[in-house]
Symmetry: C2
Subunit: 247 residues, 2 copies
Amino acid sequence: MNSTYFTRRTIRKYAQREIDSDLLERLLTAGTRSSTTGNMQVYSIIVTRDQEMKKQLAPAHFNQPMVTEAPVVLTFCADFNRFNLWCRQRDAEPGYDNFLSFMTAATDALIAAQTICNAAEEEGLGICYLGTATYSADRIIQVLELPRGVVPVATVTIGWPAQVPEQPDRLPLDAVVHYEKYHDFAPDMIDSLYREKEARADSLQFIAENGKKTLAQVFTDVRYKKADNEYFSVKFLEAVRGQGFSV
Amino acid sequence: MNSTYFTRRTIRKYAQREIDSDLLERLLTAGTRSSTTGNMQVYSIIVTRDQEMKKQLAPAHFNQPMVTEAPVVLTFCADFNRFNLWCRQRDAEPGYDNFLSFMTAATDALIAAQTICNAAEEEGLGICYLGTATYSADRIIQVLELPRGVVPVATVTIGWPAQVPEQPDRLPLDAVVHYEKYHDFAPDMIDSLYREKEARADSLQFIAENGKKTLAQVFTDVRYKKADNEYFSVKFLEAVRGQGFSV
């Protein structure tokens, strides 16, 4: 397999260079060849290249500069709208306004998203996922004029790398992979899996900068706080329900 | 980019040939290099190679033969368990028992899953996603002994292709891709996007075999029925809540 899988890193700084329309179309085509539930293709991809549209999307992504600086922003949506329209036009009554169907459509969208990311990286492009797509689903729905049945689940910025940052760390494979059954983690196993991460210079810097005692506290108290998660949970659930999926 | 993206098809029949452990580990490593929210890696991959375990998993997947015939079955899980254990061991109070965190973890899991699928296909392996992972989350949780905080979101069977079926159709790119804003579909656009699909010999056969009038009715009345979707929605929501995510 190509080496990009192992050498990749998220790219947040892009060169001032467009992505050729042919290349973009090949990437999108690769995405649509990926697995999709029952070949229903219940997802959509909104391509943002217009600078004015990027500016409108930016606040939804907390004004992270990638949104206005990347030549292409892709918003991946769970989408039963087109499929439902087809059903109704063909004397068939769709029953896809539920949580399972939302998850099915979100899965289709994320599978296509990741194929496009893998293919883009193989071409030398850099990508960045923005978790804010779910946080600000309401605003994205408004800006991109997403109809009922369509919910954004991931945003990816794509462009030619302007700089190649150091590759971030990952936990040992044992932290993620379990053979045959889930082997839950005893305290010494947790210590061992996180030892290297906790000893990194950048980890120690995060702790110091944020006035915390442990790296875990940087996550729970600063980066991904309970109150924020709960606030955005309610907002995202409202968006999912508002677009017609009962949860 | 490599041609596999465009020539791939789902493989459901596998040769009686193992996947070498080194190759499997490279695939898993490629998966863990993919994007992950805040580098938290809040997912896990359960590898099933043992025949007895495959038999136990099979009913969860409606006894589809791929589960017992593929050399490797991978179950991808949204997983905050390991991260929560780490937090608690480091004097940090995790706040990840909510819908947003579940979606974050499910996204991490699906991104890793699709990278592994792309890398596997590049190596000549064939893959098949089983949507049943969400339908039967309760049974999978039991068989794989998934602790609180861990929910299966996708199962993939992987093996060497025993046969290469015809590549399935896809809708024209315009059905999935929207530029700048979502362009909703007028009735004649729906007709045009689905014309080729509806005219296919296999589509006409599906309609005839199922005694239906339209292809859409095969989906709504036979393959993905409202009553089934609603039943499995309730079951899956119960599993998500049962594993500690409030929705």
